[in-house]
């Protein structure tokens, strides 16, 4: 009862704010895959005022990992004596000719872990194996990967490496907002990425693009209040970054975690699936940490692969195509037999639409 009253209050605030837009149609983007899943699971879109549209963005790290990188990870799984440790979401993402799941079925040693620390502990306990951690993730995950590598170095664990393929969110938002195909009136910024990088980082979005931002949590009321803030900012003719997730997000973020990332990782140009190469948008190991680079240790070259035929994940990730508008959604591409990553990941917008979209 009390929780529902919180949602009622937030919803009323969104409706009031949307009504002040004098019928103007607005399109917002939720940048974070965890938001995508919460919104779909809670059925929130059915509650939105008719002039408010919300599209999903490139906020699922698995989904934005290009196929060539998946192919490199499959190649790592084929290294004799290797044990690949990965977050579960990566397992079923199809590469050009295989997936980690298929490699496992063919006998490769692939372990699903919850933390990179588990992978390091496995390496310490099994010195005869080459343990490779697949380091996919955004800023939320980067400090965990970096700190685990610091521990590996301190403990001189020689059989532990990481395949770092992490991504940095703000440059992708800059690229997205600079894209002529993309027209957005506001951004619901990712809550847990912001815990690390801070809310201030998004200041360039209102300043350069005049687009309001709201950093919000993941409960129904928090998401609705985030959207209400975006409508209120537009109605008042202002654009700022409003932090509505203050219990966890500081303006400057977690400085200690930032320092750990900075010691181990640097940002370099990186390819995002469907978007292309974005300057300084990906993590890679600093030169002093090259000994821990799995790709380098096992001689896995860079790979590039075309998107699967018919798959429109790239457009879905930019919010310019909705999952149902993709010709293979729900027919050739399903969670059981995914073609693109947006259907595989538990945070992918196609998976959310398939699971909760009323099919």
């Amino acid at each position: 009862m009390t929780a529902a009253a919180g949602v009622d209050t937030a919803l009323q605030r969104l409706r009031d704010a949307a009504a002040r837009l004098s019928g103007r149609q607005v399109t917002f983007m939720e940048v974070c895959g965890t938001h995508t899943m919460s919104i779909a699971r809670l059925g929130l879109k059915a509650l939105f005022p008719p002039n408010v549209q919300l599209v999903s963005g490139p906020g699922c790290p698995v989904c934005v990992t290009p196929q060539g990188v998946i192919d490199r990870m499959v190649a790592l799984a084929r290294v004799p004596g290797a044990t690949v440790c990965t977050f579960g979401d990566m397992l079923r993402v199809p590469g050009t000719e295989s997936s980690l799941e298929r490699e496992r079925a063919s006998g490769a040693r692939i372990r699903v872990v919850y933390s990179p620390l588990e992978a390091l502990a496995h390496a310490e306990a099994h010195p005869g194996e080459q343990v490779i951690f697949l380091g996919v993730g955004f800023e939320t995950t980067a400090p965990a990967i970096a700190q685990t590598l610091r521990q590996a170095k301190a403990k001189r664990v020689a059989n532990f490496t990481a395949a770092v393929a992490g991504k940095v969110v703000p440059p992708a938002l800059h690229a997205l907002l600079s894209d002529d195909d993309v027209a957005l009136d506001g951004l619901l910024c990712p809550g847990h990425v912001s815990v690390i990088i801070g809310a201030k980082v998004y200041g360039f979005i209102p300043a350069e693009f005049g687009v309001p931002c709201a950093v919000a949590g993941f409960e129904a009321a928090e998401i609705l209040l985030g959207l209400a803030s975006l409508c209120e900012q537009i109605a008042a003719g202002r654009a700022t970054v409003e932090n509505l997730y203050r219990e966890w997000v500081r303006p400057e973020g977690n400085r200690r975690a930032q320092a750990v990332i900075d010691e181990v990782l640097l940002t370099a140009d990186a390819e995002w699936r469907g978007i292309g190469v974005i300057p300084l948008s990906g993590y890679s190991l600093r030169p002093a940490w090259r000994d821990f680079d799995a790709f380098e240790r096992f001689g896995i070259p860079e790979m590039h692969a075309p998107e699967p035929r018919g798959c429109r994940c790239g457009e879905v990730l930019k919010g310019v195509t909705q999952p149902r508008d993709c010709g293979i959604f729900g027919t050739h591409c399903t969670p059981q037999h995914p073609v693109g990553p947006c259907m595989v990941s538990s945070e992918g917008s196609c998976a959310a639409e398939f699971k909760y979209g009323g099919r």
């Binding site: 009253a5 790290p61 400090p143 700190q147 847990h192 815990v195 966890w248 975690a257 945070e347």
Partner: protein, 78 residues
């Protein structure tokens, strides 16, 4: 993948906290945060605490949330 979950700290030993996550006890690495004490809340992701909310701040927040909800309930009844 950026899912992070808050949990209450039961005890702290060196850089590891034992937390209570809805009845389950978990070990969480504290090396990315500072000054964690039993009773605090931590936001957990991939085995690490990413941020801390002190016991006092958590209680204050719960108070204001409850107040907001109560106000909402009054409004919806009137």
């Amino acid at each position: 993948m950026c899912l992070a979950i808050p949990a209450r700290v039961l005890s702290v030993e060196d850089e590891v906290a034992t937390v209570d996550l809805e009845g389950t006890r978990l070990h969480v690495n504290l090396s990315l945060v500072e000054g964690v004490a039993p009773g605090d809340h931590v936001l957990i992701h991939a085995g690490f605490a990413l941020e801390v909310l002190s016991d006092a701040d958590a209680q204050e927040l719960a108070f204001y949330r409850e107040r907001m909800r109560a106000l909402g309930a009054q409004e919806s009844m009137s």
